[in-house]
């Protein structure tokens, strides 16, 4: 039995690990720049699918179907990103007589459109963030638009119906900026998603982003899981997640789980999905959107429930009824935190930092899990999401999980590129984060308050030690004759000569 993993990076390795554990052979696909990537090296079989640009390889449904046929796989797992929420892909895989490890194409379509998803939630009796009930009519006059916006209230978001991953949205603080923002999001969404449709949504103040994982099987069972808190975001994308959420009364947990399950049931949802909510300061929650695939941060849920979500996806895909104790799924055992190690420079507004990883030593030991898509020598390509690995720390309570995560990010050694590790070292020592929940503006507010100061500020002692290190390195590189005064002189001369050659 073979499985095609139609993805790359850490999630491809994660899925292949589940394949090995379940006795499936894993078939990898790779673009040109990924020939030597860890997911190819980990696979049992590997097929090239085109140039490095995603649209020429990982987004090519035809080539993926061709590999599925040549390798004769029983199932295709899409991971997250790329084609994971593409209904056409799900349909094509099934039309080819193979199993798509995910929900029905209809569920993907219904919940992938933000406005239809809001309608589903409302119909299921779940509160949604205030906003327009339907997409904006493309021919709407500026006056009608203003009236519509006024009824919702400012600040508000202009959002593309097809948007996602922090793209296709813009915040509007006052009426004068509304028309331009709608035009801009339409244009962006048209080029990014091929769909100019937009709608308006209230921007709630001081909200937390809390989501509920669900699993649904082919027999009508839907199991909701204990929530994940995902409020630490930059550019509307998560970098830190935890489970359970801090300060989550049992009653609210049950209400959110029930809301999520009723949305999933309303669309006959199968396989893994996640319902995202915004929670305001009063504790009221509002449906935000549904992700119809495995979530990046599924590991924190695995840590506190003990349920392997990827294995469960395969169980569901095979049509086997879910055998999960709903109490186990909803009752967190301890606390888990995830830090996403991105090739990004936190000291430069989290700008991507692609390149070659010289050295990579991931943390380990008690309570620490690392899911990586890179090794020493790996190149982080410019073509894809810059996620390198995900560290999950588990503890018997939040304090122990945080202490272990602090220890883990201190252990994490990666050289050659900038990563989010220095941000995590700062965050895990931050009072506000340690003492309780923070809202989704936390990183932006932090960056603004720090005014460009680096997250890890060097002490004079550390600078001195760095100078010592550079000097020792130069000493060793100068060769075995070093250490006598005459050798020092010649090293000076050598350096001078080399410089004059360069000048």
């Amino acid at each position: 039995m073979k499985v095609l993993v139609a993805n790359r990076g850490e999630i491809a390795v994660r899925i292949m690990r589940a394949c090995r554990e379940l006795g499936f052979r894993a078939v990898a696909v790779y673009s040109e720049c990924d020939r030597s990537a860890p997911h190819v090296r980990y696979a049992d079989e590997a097929y090239p699918i085109g140039p490095s640009e995603p649209r020429d390889s990982y987004l090519r449904i035809d080539r993926l179907l061709d590999v599925a046929e040549r390798a004769d796989v029983w199932a295709v797992h899409p991971g997250y990103g790329f084609l994971a929420e593409n209904a056409e892909f799900a349909r094509a895989v099934r039309a080819a007589g193979r199993t798509f490890v995910g929900p029905s194409a209809e569920a993907i379509e219904l919940m992938g459109g933000k406005v239809t998803a809001r309608a589903v939630a409302r119909a299921a009796g779940v509160p949604v963030v205030p906003g327009t009930d339907a997409p904006l009519d493309p021919g709407l006059s500026d006056e009608a638009l203003s009236a519509s916006a006024g009824a919702i209230g400012y600040p508000l978001f202009v959002k593309a119906v097809a948007g996602g991953g922090g793209k296709g949205m813009r915040v509007v603080h006052e009426p004068s900026a509304l028309v331009a923002a709608v035009a801009a999001v339409r244009s962006e969404a048209g080029s990014a998603f091929g769909d100019q449709t937009v709608y308006l949504e209230r921007r709630l103040a001081a909200t937390r982003h809390i989501e509920i994982q669900v699993l649904g099987d082919a027999h009508g069972t839907v199991v909701p899981f204990v929530e994940r808190e995902c409020s630490i975001q930059r550019r509307h994308q998560k970098v830190v997640e935890e489970s359970p959420a801090a300060e989550m009364p049992l009653e609210r947990r049950r209400a959110m789980a029930e809301a999520a399950a009723s949305i999933a049931r309303a669309v006959g949802y199968t396989n893994a999905g996640t319902i995202e909510f915004l929670v305001d300061e009063t504790g009221a929650f509002y449906f935000l959107e549904m992700n119809t695939r495995l979530q990046v941060e599924h590991g924190v849920t695995e840590a506190v429930t003990g349920i392997d979500l990827v294995q469960a996806q395969f169980t569901i895909a095979r049509g086997v009824p879910l055998d999960i104790d709903p109490v186990r799924a909803l009752t967190p055992n301890g606390h888990a935190i995830e830090c996403r190690v991105y090739a990004e420079d936190p000291d430069a507004s989290f700008l991507p930092s692609p390149g070659r990883i010289h050295e990579l030593r991931a943390p380990s030991g008690p309570g620490v899990r690392d899911d990586s898509g890179a090794v020493a020598g790996s190149e982080v390509p410019v073509f894809y999401d810059p996620l390198i690995s995900k560290v999950v720390a588990w503890g018997i309570d939040r304090a122990q999980a945080m202490a272990r995560m602090r220890r883990a990010v201190d252990e994490y050694e990666i050289h050659g590129i900038k990563t989010t590790i220095p941000f995590f070292r700062w965050l895990l020592r931050n009072e506000a984060f340690a003492s309780g929940p923070v809202d989704t503006t936390f990183i932006d507010a932090t960056l603004a308050a720090r005014g460009g100061r680096p997250f890890v500020e060097p002490s004079p002692e550390a600078e001195e030690l760095a100078a010592i290190g550079a000097a020792l390195y130069a000493f060793f590189e100068a060769g075995p004759g070093e250490g006598t005064s005459s050798a020092s002189v010649s090293a000076w001369r050598q350096a001078a000569r080399a410089d004059s050659l360069r000048a």
Binding site: P352, F383, A466, A471, E482, D499
Partner: protein, 173 residues
Amino acid sequence: MRLKIEIGGRVRTVAVERPSAASDRFVVTVDGSRHDLDVRRLDRATLSVIRLDGSPARTSHELTIVETGLRGRYDVQLREGVFRTAVDGRLRLGPPAERLRTGRQVVTAPMPGRVVRVLVAPGDEVDQRQELVVVEAMKMENALGSPKAGRVVEVAVREGMTVDAGQMLVAIE
């Protein structure tokens, strides 16, 4: 061996002595203050250093030194973070921090990508860190901010253009 080493805009004079080639003891003097060290080179890039003096005594440090490709410029990684260093005193790591805020400054693309938004035009007054250009790369939109308050004197790209790493986008004066 005597070296000039620049870190964070400050140049230090560093002397390295190994009293005996048979021993791993080193004496390194930084701007006149002496450090006795036990040093092991674990591989080309990695040093294990135990300080034989100081308070607390005998602190253990692991240092990784990565050559950046430019002669004499090393990235030194400690537990506390990464330090860009320039060895031999003649390679300046760009202008000192104070000078960054004055004169003509150029904003370049930090990675290859596509310009998705240009938010300023020549002549615009901008604040420090005000967003100038948004470049999409690695599945993300990356807003590039102004290095200082000033006036936009040149915009070298337009929306939709593909840019390479290091390519000039905007100049500020």
